[in-house]
């Protein structure tokens, strides 16, 4: 079948013609990879290795070189933190810096209505868009000045990633010792009975306030709910204990870690405290 002559070449035809032109141009007027491009590549690679070695040296000599204490922190952080301890009573759930933006997204989308957006929704959409980019932007033009939409989108993406990373980096986890000093205020504001006090102390020191806020104390991470008035929901002590032992069994898919290692007695104290927290009403 004879091809129907076209009025105008299609976009694909144009792209193919451009690529053929590119190949011919490079062949005729390009320069050989070795030594020209390879020279620059080599300088850059040496620079990269030097940067990596320098970081390692700064890390060592400011952190633990002179001290021989594995927990001493230098300019770039310590050698290691305390050994992992599932039964710990305080911790800072903090990933490596390039995940800060993901972590901070979770502070924006609060549990439970929209947390799915923060954990999986937005990152997945962003990733799909990134993969699809060549098919979303199919014009042939490559000059940045002729691609205003792409450039504005890129700048907005960079700014939001930067802001999220910065916010994630500077987000302060309240210290257990500071939170504990707040307990007398909780007793007043919430009319806590004396029986709830051991639970309150545990709550302040077991790391709950890394994620939850209570009476204005603590930081909200991962979209964990404010627990000031958790008692008004009358979930009951057994349910509270079950949730603390295995959050996923009460709230499917909960990112809250299990606190089963605290042991039944302390879990009961916590549950009593939670149930007694009626938000002052």
């Amino acid at each position: 079948m004879a091809a129907i002559p076209k009025e105008k070449p299609s976009r694909t035809d144009e792209a193919r013609a451009e690529f053929a032109r590119y190949k011919a141009d490079v062949k005729a007027r390009g320069k050989p990879f070795y030594p020209y491009a390879m020279f620059h590549d080599t300088i850059m690679s040496v620079f990269v290795v030097v940067v990596i070695v320098s970081l390692a040296v700064i890390w060592k000599w400011t952190a633990f070189g002179p001290h021989h204490d594995p927990l001493h922190k230098g300019l770039l952080g310590g050698e290691v933190a305390q050994p992992a301890d599932p039964g710990t009573t305080s911790f800072v759930p903090r990933p490596d810096w390039y995940f800060y933006f993901l972590f901070y997204l979770l502070r924006i989308f609060k549990w439970p209505e929209s947390v799915f957006l923060g954990t999986i929704g937005i990152p997945t959409i962003a990733l799909v868009l990134l993969i699809m980019l060549p098919f979303l932007d199919r014009r042939r033009v490559r000059r940045p000045s002729a691609r205003p939409v792409a450039m504005v989108a890129a700048v907005l993406t960079i700014i939001s990633m930067g802001v999220l990373t910065w916010k994630g980096a500077t987000a302060k986890e309240a210290l257990a010792s500071e939170i504990k000093q707040d307990i007398p205020n909780w007793v007043k504001a919430e009319h806590l009975p004396p029986g709830a006090l051991p639970g309150a102390r545990l709550f302040a020191s077991a790391g709950c306030t890394n994620c939850h806020t209570y009476n204005g104390a603590g930081g909200s991470q991962l979209g964990a709910p404010d627990l000031t008035a958790i008692g008004t929901r009358n979930l009951g002590v057994p349910t509270q204990i079950r949730h603390l032992q295995n959050p996923g069994s009460v709230t499917p898919g909960s990112p809250m870690p299990s606190f089963a290692s605290l042991g039944p007695q302390r879990l009961r104290q916590l549950a009593v405290f939670l149930e007694a927290s009626k938000g002052g009403k």
Binding site: E18, Y22, A81
Partner: protein, 288 residues
């Protein structure tokens, strides 16, 4: 490589000829049986656009950072012990102790671990910068769409490498970051809970999780990254790299576009283009 002489070769010439053959023998041997020498020669002496710039070294910089990770990682794997069980003498987890041992007692261990730890960040940054340069140049357009997609997959794999490696020292920050990270994976619909269960190797994060992360971190993901990088570089060599789009002399520019630009009209582009001009030939017409 036999040279033909019109006269009888002198002794010295014969000796030189024999030396040349001897030196070339291994290369010729390999070339005859594999064609690899020709491949390397093509790789080295293929032409690239004459106007490529420094931003285009970021890809090979990322490759260098990856190689640093691979080499230091292999050394670390010789001394690291991925066990969460407690050392009966010290009461500390074995994995944590092996990390402290590498950093404090192994000769140059601090350097190897330090380079691996900080190289990871450098690698991630370089991947992002390289991606930014590809975006700026519009180099993801036809016919390089596939290479962009491969690039995104490498980026994702690289971040997964960071996530799995972070747990290995088995210290508090690592442990709790992984607890939360895995739980977050668990919030995904359908596959989420299954994925979380798989990563943990059970209901709770434990020694089982550590060995799983270790195997992912040093076998599965690096294997995938190496395969993807190989594909990536194959496509880079096959398709060639783009000229900077603002270049006055970009390879592949339309002839009208080129002529409209007064500065280069009649200067650089010989019309008609010399067909199949030699790669090493000097560039025509008074450029640089």
């Amino acid at each position: 490589m036999a040279t033909t002489y019109r006269r009888t070769p002198t002794k010295a010439e014969l000796r030189r000829q024999r030396m040349e053959e001897l030196i070339n023998f291994p290369l010729d041997w390999v070339e005859e049986r594999s064609g690899l020498v020709g491949g390397v020669r093509y790789f080295l002496f293929r032409n690239v656009p004459s106007d490529i710039n420094w931003m285009q070294t970021l890809g090979s910089a990322a490759l260098t950072a990856f190689l640093v990770q691979a080499i230091t990682g292999v050394i670390l794997a010789m001394y690291y012990d991925p066990s969460a069980s407690t050392d009966p003498h010290t009461g500390k987890p074995v994995a944590w102790e092996s990390i402290v041992n590498i950093t404090d007692h192994l000769t140059m261990g601090w350097l190897v671990r330090g380079m691996h730890k900080w190289g990871a960040s450098v690698f991630i940054i370089l991947m992002f910068l390289h991606m930014g340069r590809v975006f700026l140049f519009g180099a993801y357009k036809y016919p390089r769409e596939l290479n962009w997609i491969i690039g995104v997959l490498i980026l994702v794999m690289g971040m997964m490498e960071g996530f799995t490696g972070y747990l290995l020292p088995w210290d508090q920050t690592a442990y709790w970051a992984s607890v939360v990270g895995i739980n977050l994976n668990g919030t995904a619909p359908f596959l989420g809970p299954w994925l979380a269960q798989f990563l943990r190797g059970g209901q709770e994060i434990s020694g089982e999780t550590l060995t799983r992360f270790y195997s992912l971190h040093m076998l599965v993901i690096p294997g995938a990254i190496i395969a993807l990088i190989t594909l990536h570089l194959y496509l880079v060599i096959r398709l060639g790299v783009t000229s900077p789009p603002w270049s006055k002399d970009a390879a592949g520019m339309e002839p009208e576009e080129a002529e409209a630009d007064g500065r280069r009209a009649g200067l650089t582009r010989p019309v008609p283009r010399p067909a199949g001009a030699s790669a090493m030939q000097a560039e025509p017409g008074g450029r640089e």
